[in-house]
Symmetry: C2
DNA sequence: CTTGACCTTAGAGTTTACTCCAAGGTTTAT
DNA sequence: ATAAACCTTGGAGTAAACTCTAAGGTCAAG
């Protein structure tokens, strides 16, 4: 059994984070001592490990909650249930990457077009592009 | 001169958004009518265009504020000043893409390893991976 | 017996970019 | 005259995942 500070130190998180996870129903300490202190079992510690690993690969706390609820009722769940969560997140991540790559292309085009020297910004191609109403086309142009 | 609702309709934004941009110092209407109505000039409209285009390519409102402050003092600024903002944002976008691609690889590996069928989740490879302390290595493993 | 390190709760603050609401004033049309 | 469609202000609410503060209780060491 660990007190909150011990568990927090072990996993290098803030004690407030653990209280927050409890409030969110992700990690409820398996018992409470007579002095009111939260007491975490090694199963709790294992669960925290799962939470942090899931976070590290991009799951939101809400996703993780779903995953943990499947975990506790494994016997009555199917692989499909688990895979759906993962594939859903994968779709979100892919969509976000696509969006950022669109940003990236536009920014790179702006950057490459600009001399970046000590010349006056009066004629800066970047500012001109941002002022130009036809610039939006750039971010949607797919025939590079 | 446009009233706030006219400008909002023209650019398909909420009037509250325009008031918010004003509060943030991004777009201050060039005059206020005697009845207290905000009056936007066509220069203001052009600035709004710049703001929305900059937003569309991934700049935050704070970035845009910097860009606009350069814009109004173009004569005393250099191309370098502008390019630094763009390159800085490009670095941030690239970093975010890298992070998401790490997520993507981990998620894809999880997904691919799981049958996704109607089998019991008891032996699901995804759940096993999340429970395994050595799993973190996967997200950092570069020798595919 | 007091100091310091620990723990408790409830609640507020952070960030970003809005969005909504209430209560009221203005303008235009019928 | 009155309704509809505008506009004003100030302030609260939203999402996500914490982080911090205040005021106080607990515990071990010196």
């Amino acid at each position: 059994m660990y007190r909150i500070g011990e568990l927090a130190k072990q996993f290098d998180v803030n004690t407030d984070t653990l209280r927050y996870y409890e409030k969110e129903g992700l990690l409820v300490p398996s018992s409470v001592a007579s002095n009111g202190y939260r007491m975490y079992s090694s199963a709790d510690a294992k669960t925290l490990g799962v939470i942090l690993r899931a976070k590290a690969i991009g799951f939101s706390l809400s996703d993780i909650k779903t995953l943990l609820s499947i975990e506790v009722d494994k016997a009555n769940k199917e692989c499909l249930d688990v895979k759906l969560v993962v594939d859903d997140k994968l779709d979100q991540v892919n969509a976000k990457i696509d969006e950022l790559q669109t940003f990236q292309r536009s920014l790179k085009r702006l950057s490459d077009a600009c001399c970046g020297g000590h010349e006056s910004a009066q004629d800066c191609t970047i500012l001109q592009a941002l002022e130009s109403e036809s610039f939006t086309i750039l971010s949607e142009c797919h025939h590079d």
